[in-house]
């Protein structure tokens, strides 16, 4: 067996742990823990970026590591925790599939992702090209998380985890995106979380719940009924808003 240098071993460990965290997110029911897992994922990404920056000597990777730390480990989880406290959503409802079923689907997705990444890895020339498959798997697993959840909060966490996967993929395929793109994506994510936060309040005002299941039954007639001022149930949450 060929010897792998120690820093590459650490990077591989980070990649493997990222995959494990995606599965943990898939299995997790509590929204608070889900956000904590997202923060840990960000932390791992930060560690992986630092390691890669140290190994390759690419200085812009240090910058994106700092960006990851401040945005994905500290700021976004903080906002999400605030939102959870404000909206009082602590648990997700029972998902579409049970946990064991979701896990098996997740495993199939990972196999598919590894197959998908094989030709890309063959083309890449970076030392971390093996990790591309893991990045694709993380992205697809975040998709599965978003698909199997009902609550808007968990879907947003899935979305952010997908962004983490994309970031990791870019890092392992080409040692990170150009700085302009990276800043742009970071800003996008930030704005998206703000907009979605406002959106949550709107959804809850409209439906008295964050269950996106209700959005499916939206039709032309219902908004008229909801808008009517004589409906006390609909207007009650408005008063409670801080």
């Amino acid at each position: 067996m060929t010897r792998i240098p120690f820093d590459m071993q650490l990077l591989n460990l980070c990649a493997a742990l990222l995959l494990l965290l995606s599965f943990a997110m898939l299995a997790q029911r509590r929204v608070v823990t889900l956000v904590n897992l997202l923060a840990i994922q960000g932390g791992l990404l930060f560690a992986a970026t630092l390691l890669l920056a140290w190994r390759t000597g690419e200085s812009h990777l240090y910058l994106s590591a700092v960006l990851t730390l401040s945005l994905k480990v500290i700021f976004l989880p903080w906002i999400l925790h605030r939102l959870i406290r404000r909206l009082q959503v602590y648990w997700d409802t029972e998902p579409l599939l049970n946990i064991s079923g979701t896990m098996l689907v997740g495993l199939l997705v990972v196999v598919f992702a590894f197959g998908l990444a094989q030709p890309i890895s063959a083309l890449a020339s970076t030392t971390t090209r093996n990790a591309i498959g893991i990045a694709v798997a993380v992205i697809l697993l975040s998709f599965v998380t978003m698909i199997t959840r009902r609550k808007a909060m968990s879907q947003v966490v899935g979305f952010l985890s997908m962004e983490n996967g994309l970031f990791f993929g870019a890092m392992s395929a080409t040692y990170g995106m150009p700085m302009v793109v990276e800043f742009g994506v970071a800003l996008d994510v930030l704005v998206a979380v703000f907009v979605l936060g406002i959106f949550f309040f709107q959804i809850r005002e409209q439906f008295d719940s964050l269950d996106l299941h209700h959005l499916e039954s939206l039709s032309e007639r219902q908004p008229l009924a909801a808008d009517s001022p004589s409906d006390p149930v609909q207007s009650a949450p408005l008063i409670k808003e801080p």
């Binding site: 990649a15 995959l19 990972v110």
Partner: protein, 316 residues
Amino acid sequence: MKALDILTQLLELVAALAAAPLFLGWVNQCRAWLQNRRAPSIWLPYRGIRKLFHKEAVIAENASALFRVTPYVVFGAMVLAAGIIPSMGTRLPFTVAADAIALVGLLAMARVFQSLAAMDIGTAFGTLGARREMMVGFLAEPALLMVIFVASMISATTALPAITENLADQTLALYPSLAFTAIAFTLVLLAENARIPIDNPATHLELTMIHEAMLLEYSARHLAMMEWAAALKLFNYACIGFALFVPWGVSTGAGNPVALLASIPLLAIKLAVMGAGLALIETLSAKVRVFRAPEFLASAFLFAVLGLLVHVLLGA
């Protein structure tokens, strides 16, 4: 050199037979300490076995020959398994005959016999225990096989001694795949040996029993054999874990009596640490409902498959 190999084999068998109840006693003692109880003597399992051997065996009227044979079959399977697992040396004459997959089959055979014997009398509790045991078994077995496959892929062989030699000879490297499979193996070990998240070995409530419910009809020497076999099973699982994940200290080369002698205290240290860890896990976790057991074992399978996939992709 041949004589030394045979000596190693004999030493391993004797050590397994002698140390298995001691290991069980050690786990029980650690558990009692952690739970702020007065610990029973570490020799208690031996005393229990001796007491049972001196009693008169009582067997149900409608018991078939299968019921009488089962204790010996189960005990024999466990002793044979102890002979295959390289716990002290890797040059074992027995291991030529059986690899790791055969070992899993051997454990499965013991399980099938035990379950059949439990159903043989036709009491409700025996049948209930047998069914639950089979449910746990059929979920734990693929996970155990996956664990062994990962180690086999790293070493490119399914022979346990060769895997141990290969892993022991390497310089220390981080294997995320082995770390995942170690977690999976711990979960399987807990489930297969009737430990707390799945089954409570000290329970007296028949409705929650799995392993104990299957032994309700046995008495005297049959019960002694079954309990000794259960202790051997725990010992065997611990040794499989050492062979795959902490293979250091096992005498690997051919004909090295000093290494063989040195491996004995190392095995004792490993077992002591493992027993304390097992007691800690059992103290920290609560028994899950029997319907949650599939979820527990599915996560074991998931960890093992993740280890496999990570190994395939990262080569680590």
